[in-house]
Symmetry: C2
């Protein structure tokens, strides 16, 4: 695929720093994961937390996704407002404020949430009145973040859910976040298999109790190939595959190959200073590029072997290789995202280079909602 050119006239008027998305690479990634899943007979419910874009979610659904997973109520609210079907909230809502918001979404229908606690279930049910709820049990498969920790607890919670009026026990989730970024294939497979076994044990216990889950959801970009082959997942939640980043570019496949997805996400930056020898300063720092990943290592529009480093909220420094000509101020460059999810979260829109060469702007939503200001 032809790499983007930051000198392209379409980029000239974009206020920098800015997110740029290569639609050809994006669509290739969407199609590739959809084809993998179809071949394996697994459903895709890709995760919105990576892209936070209704436009991208619609593209994923058009390519065969059965629904969309999301991490926050704000993301779920955006999806529901756009009439996306089969939404799954993958973090348990807790406390009255979150339960009220989930019930409001349930009134519109076609949404489920995971829960891991009887208090959450009882509060949701008390708020819901006669609104039907779809609840799934979150299983801790070794990530140690949310989820019940074993089959016995899972059965007890599923039984509580199934016993309540207007409340359906929809399925289970086990997300092995701790496995996704393990670089070597064998070790990643070992961790993924451990998580899968914990899920299988839960499925068995639930089935024995007459509570066979309607879906078994989980998996991410790093383990989806393993999980789709080996189960017990009925659906895959992978999200980052469609954007890719420096971290996932280091993750190796079975034959030591890279993951079969292409970089589609970049930050467009402008050279704002070149007064020092061998260095230029660009307008993309820690407020434009997430820092919790490797240092950005793909730079387009600068000499080969140039290296980026963060230098504050608004700036990065690019060290030029010895002998290279400096770049004039105003020159634009592209920086591949270092960690896609938190990088997207820093921006309000994607600037999308479409297959036909046109430029689109897709809003990024799903931000944390403030309390509505009085009078607004």
């Amino acid at each position: 695929m032809k790499p983007l050119d930051p000198g392209d006239a379409r980029f000239a008027q974009i206020p920098t720093p800015a997110l740029v998305l290569d639609a050809a690479a994006l669509d290739a990634n969407i199609a590739r994961m959809a084809a993998f899943a179809a071949t394996r007979g697994i459903q895709l419910r890709p995760h919105m937390k990576s892209h936070k874009s209704v436009a991208i979610a619609q593209r994923q659904c058009a390519a065969g996704a059965v629904g969309i997973a999301c991490a926050t109520l704000a993301e779920a609210e955006d999806l529901s407002a756009a009439d996306i079907r089969n939404i799954l909230l993958t973090s348990p809502p807790a406390g009255e404020e979150k339960c009220v918001r989930f019930v409001a979404l349930s009134r519109r229908g076609s949404i489920a949430t995971v829960v891991d606690d009887a208090d959450q279930v009882n509060m949701l049910r008390a708020i819901a009145g006669n609104v039907a709820l779809e609840l799934a049990v979150d299983i801790d498969v070794g990530q140690e973040r949310t989820g019940v920790v074993g089959p016995r607890e899972a059965v007890a919670l599923a039984r509580l859910i199934a016993s309540l009026p207007n409340t359906r026990f929809a399925g289970i989730q086990g997300y092995a976040g701790h496995a996704q970024h393990v670089v070597g294939f064998d070790e990643r497979q070992r961790v993924a298999r451990g998580a899968a076994q914990r899920l299988r044990d839960v499925v068995s216990a639930l089935s024995e109790a007459g509570l066979k889950p309607g879906f078994v959801s989980g998996s991410g970009t790093g383990t989806s190939d393993i999980d789709m082959r080996e189960g017990p997942y009925t659906e895959i939640q992978a999200g980052s595959y469609l954007l890719m980043d420096a971290e996932y570019r280091t993750v190796r496949g079975a034959d030591d190959s890279a993951l079969p997805f292409e970089q589609s996400l970049y930050v467009l930056a402008t050279v704002v200073s070149n007064r020092r020898c061998g260095e230029i300063t660009v307008d993309a720092g820690t407020k434009a590029l997430a820092v919790n990943g490797p240092v950005p290592d793909v730079l387009i529009g600068v000499p080969k072997r140039a290296r980026y480093r963060f230098w504050g909220d608004e700036h990065g420094i690019i060290a030029l290789p010895p002998g290279a000509a400096t770049l004039p101020t105003g020159r634009r460059i592209l920086i591949a995202a270092t960690h896609c999810d938190p990088t997207v979260n820093l921006h309000s829109a994607y600037h999308v280079i479409m297959d036909d060469g046109s430029l689109n702007v897709w809003p990024i939503g799903g931000r944390y909602r403030p309390l509505r200001a009085a009078g607004s």
Copy 2:
């Protein structure tokens, strides 16, 4: 000052994670820095990049600030739209897109920008037509990010500015970002003095050339006490003092005391899972709290000696001390910001506990602007 209570009924309906601002602490910080400056006969032009809030900028101006400094054109546009006077853009604008935006702001007046490059000056002038421009020379005082590197270059650029029609050489800026977080006072003073000396050399050279700068702007929260006493600054750009964070709480004063400012910025979070022994999971992770600072170390609403760690985009884990009771899901806690500027940047509004006990919502603006979508 009485610490905030996350169990307070005013917090119950706020969608978490959420930024919370203690107006009493904020106003005390604003007043304290204003008093320091007044005593020293130095002007304050506090930096907006920390807070990104027009409401806070107006509060600073009401307390005596002569204007507001800002890092990005988006921040400058918000300030200008609110008729804030004496705006200083502290990063050089480069390239046509940024120059066009700065000229549009100059048409409304009462704004200056720093520049460090003749290309920038010539492009601004070419775009401006008969719009008057106020340009200041940015000096690299050791931060090695932007700015001309010595007196000779500074004089040449000031002379170019002064020679152009409708263009005023307004002053100089030297920001010693590398000095602000040096923990020990003596070493911080040494670095600050080095930066100040470089600025003094530039002031001398400019004065000899008949180009005495109208202002000498710089300094930050970490060095403002030194810089106000020793010069050569005519105005101080400090910003973080009004929010404070874990990083600035480690910075020591002359007698090994803490800086004389109070924590005013917190993230309100909800306990969303408590299924594991000795740990609870809250809904504030790397998308709610900046990671480029110390780990959050002030937690209100959890047992003493509880410790926070990041566990992904949306979650953090709090390890409880041995023997402590766990917290129920839905319980709320407050986490002091670890690094204020990038934490603010992750949110859309402050939830402000006012002195009279009421709750206000102040929008956070100044986000990077996307290209306007076709038809919007």
